[in-house]
């Protein structure tokens, strides 16, 4: 018994140590830095200032943040539109085929996403796979400008984040009792009415979870915007990265970072509260 509890203490203790050293302390440093000011020659100057946060509210930066939110929202919507039918087919597939199909969704994860983004460049560039194919098929005469457009960024975001949408949707769809759909048919609903009145409302938690899992990372995936969108498309992630690495304005980058984290945290908290409320309703 005693060794067991010591082992448990070791396990839990090491987890907490990691969390404190690698997450909490760096984050506290970030939070502290966000209230400093950038110095000439030195990285920061000491003092207490909210200038960085005020700068975030300036029209240029605030507009960029809104654009970034809109971009992430569109990416999440595209993922939902592409992912729901896929998850639906997956959940309806023969039980024995489902693990294999799920594996096909997971396999791209085994390759580094940066490398996969570069692979997309090969597909989308002027003499790339997509244009060659379309021209060979006689559908276009001149190559389409795909690279360095918002379309390319969306393609990149959706391609990278789609599995995060499919998996929670699949789990939610699997949890829908098929007998409820039979009951719907029995009461006069066709397949389409069944979907909108039964399947969709019952998979709403999966829809929300999938949307969060796509939307939040889409705000920060700066390398996709960099590689596929060129300089024209800016995500919040690009802005933060630029503050740290290009302009060397650590306090400003910290403030943007803190703001984005707080925004994400708020959304997760709302999601959690909504879940808990519907969960309580179920329990009653």
């Amino acid at each position: 018994m005693k060794t067991e509890s010591r082992f448990r203490l070791l396990l839990i203790g090491s987890t907490y140590t990691w969390m404190v050293v690698l997450a909490l302390i760096p984050y506290l440093i970030l939070l502290g830095a966000s209230f400093l000011e950038r110095g000439e020659g030195t990285l920061v100057v000491s003092g207490w200032s909210t200038v960085n946060y005020r700068h975030l509210l300036s029209p240029a930066v605030f507009g960029m943040a809104l654009d970034s939110l809109a971009l992430a929202a569109v990416a999440a919507l595209l993922c939902l539109l592409a992912g729901y039918p896929f998850a639906y087919i997956l959940a309806q597939a023969p039980t024995r085929a489902q693990p294999l199909l799920l594996l096909l969704v997971m396999i791209p994860f085994w390759t580094n996403s940066l490398i996969r983004t570069y692979a997309l460049v090969m597909m989308l560039k002027a003499d790339g796979f997509v244009n060659t194919l379309l021209r060979a098929a006689g559908l276009i005469e001149a190559p389409l400008q795909l690279m360095y457009t918002p379309i390319a960024v969306f393609i990149g975001l959706v391609y990278t984040l789609l599995p995060f949408m499919i998996l929670p949707l699949y789990a939610a769809l699997k949890a829908v009792d098929p007998q409820l759909l039979e009951a719907g048919r029995d009461l006069g609903a066709g397949r389409v009415q069944n979907f909108f009145r039964i399947t969709m409302p019952l998979t709403m938690p999966g829809i929300v979870a999938g949307t969060m899992l796509v939307f939040l990372p889409a705000l920060g995936m700066f390398y996709i915007s960099d590689i596929l969108g060129g300089a024209r498309t800016m995500l919040l992630g690009n802005y933060i990265r630029d503050q740290f690495l290009v302009f060397r304005d650590i306090p400003m980058g910290s403030a943007a970072s803190v703001t984005m984290t707080v925004a994400m945290g708020l959304m997760l908290a709302l999601h959690y509260l909504a879940n808990r409320r519907s969960g309580r309703e179920m329990m009653r």
Binding site: D177, E182, A183, R185, D186, G188, I198, P201, L202, R284
Partner: protein
């Protein structure tokens, strides 16, 4: 009999290589309460799903109100189902659950409100309209499921083991209420159950099924008193099976036979040949049982055992309150179970283990079947 609502003509249902239903022919009359009775896996639920439109016949035909139902989907059939686990929509209130079918039928808002409240009153759930299914007890959910189905005024209501999830007392109560509801509404009820008591208590007719086949169709009394074979006899209640051989035919329906070593007189409408092996079936309550010593002293008593008198010894007594069971081993070695009612005058059980007894039965209560080996 009223005109037929459901007709099945030579219906087969195959799953892969397995035949779930074989050559089912059945007619359900308008306004009838019919039960499909059988053990799990006998095909009774498959038959219900066929009528509901969730399965197709492999061979044969299904007609509802005289119309052939080939490839008619569930939503286009004038039948509604009460599912075994109720299948209430968890995200909808009781009101929305019950209104579902009416909304699908594009009824007006006022009509819907009125019909739903009427249905709620019928199942005694008035005031529960705004609850969610998860906030209701099992019995209440059951009532919502029934209300959700009957509010659509179906030609046939299909009930798939609707009471199996309820506890014993609630089940008894719901049996009465369902029967009452069926009388009030005049809708044809088709109930699937594995519980003989339930089938007998509620049904006008019972269909006994085994391994995808119909063994017998009849009123509860016919099924209980005149089972067509050993399977049906054993499935509906306790039964004693005695073996015998026909010795002599003494009239058009009367025979003399050797049963468990004793010469007895039997009645049967069946054509039985001399020397034919038979089963004699008797319910525990069909027997007469007396002490040998009492019969020796009473001419009246011995007269009652004239047509059949088997000798045996009392083995055990089982006390049940209003009745008690006596286990008797006959001279042939066969054991039988006899149900006796308490004598009002006597406080004590009349029989005790070790007593020598004579076993007979009320004349004509026996069922004679050809031997099934």
């Amino acid at each position: 009999m009223n005109k037929a609502v459901v007709e099945l003509i030579g219906v087969d249902k195959d799953y892969g290589g397995h035949r779930a239903l074989a050559n089912i022919s059945l007619t359900v009359a308008d306004g009838e309460f019919l039960s499909l009775l059988g053990p799990s896996g006998c095909g009774k639920t498959t038959l219900l799903r066929l009528i509901g439109g969730f399965e197709d016949c492999t061979r044969g035909q299904l007609l509802l109100d005289g119309r052939i139902m080939d490839r008619v989907p569930p939503e286009k059939r004038a039948v509604n189902t009460v599912f075994q686990n109720y299948a209430l929509f968890p995200h909808m209130t009781v009101f929305d659950n019950i209104a579902f079918g009416l909304r699908m039928a594009k009824k007006g808002t006022d009509d819907i409100r009125q019909a739903v409240h009427q249905a709620l009153e019928l199942v005694e759930l008035a005031g529960m309209a705004h609850r969610k299914p998860a906030e209701l007890s099992g019995g209440q959910q059951q009532r919502v499921a029934i209300a959700r189905a009957i509010v659509n005024k179906p030609r046939v209501l299909l009930l798939d083991e609707p009471l199996s999830a309820l506890d014993h007392r609630l089940r008894k109560q719901m049996q009465k209420e369902l029967k009452q509801l069926q009388r009030t509404l005049g809708i044809t009820f088709l109930l699937v159950t594995h519980d003989q008591d339930e089938a007998f208590a509620m049904s006008d007719r019972v269909v006994v099924m085994q391994q995808g086949r119909i063994e017998q169709i009849g009123t509860p009394m016919e099924i209980y008193e005149e089972p067509v074979n050993l399977y049906v006899a054993r499935f509906v209640g306790d039964i004693n099976v005695l073996d015998g051989v026909i010795r002599e035919q003494t009239g058009s329906t009367t025979f003399i036979a050797l049963v468990e070593g004793a010469v007895v007189r039997l009645r049967s409408n069946r054509a039985l040949n001399l020397g034919q092996s038979i089963h004699v079936l008797l319910r525990p309550e069909d027997f007469r049982l007396e002490l040998e010593q009492d019969i020796a002293q009473s001419r009246d008593l011995s007269a009652k055992f004239q047509q059949a008198r088997l000798k045996g010894t009392v083995r055990r007594i089982f006390y049940h309150g209003a009745t008690y069971d006596v286990e008797v081993s006959l001279e042939s070695g066969t054991r039988v179970q006899v149900t006796e009612f308490f004598d009002d005058d006597s406080d004590n059980l009349y029989f005790k283990p070790g007593d020598s007894v004579a076993l007979g039965w009320h004349e004509g209560w026996e069922v004679v079947l050809p031997h099934e080996d």
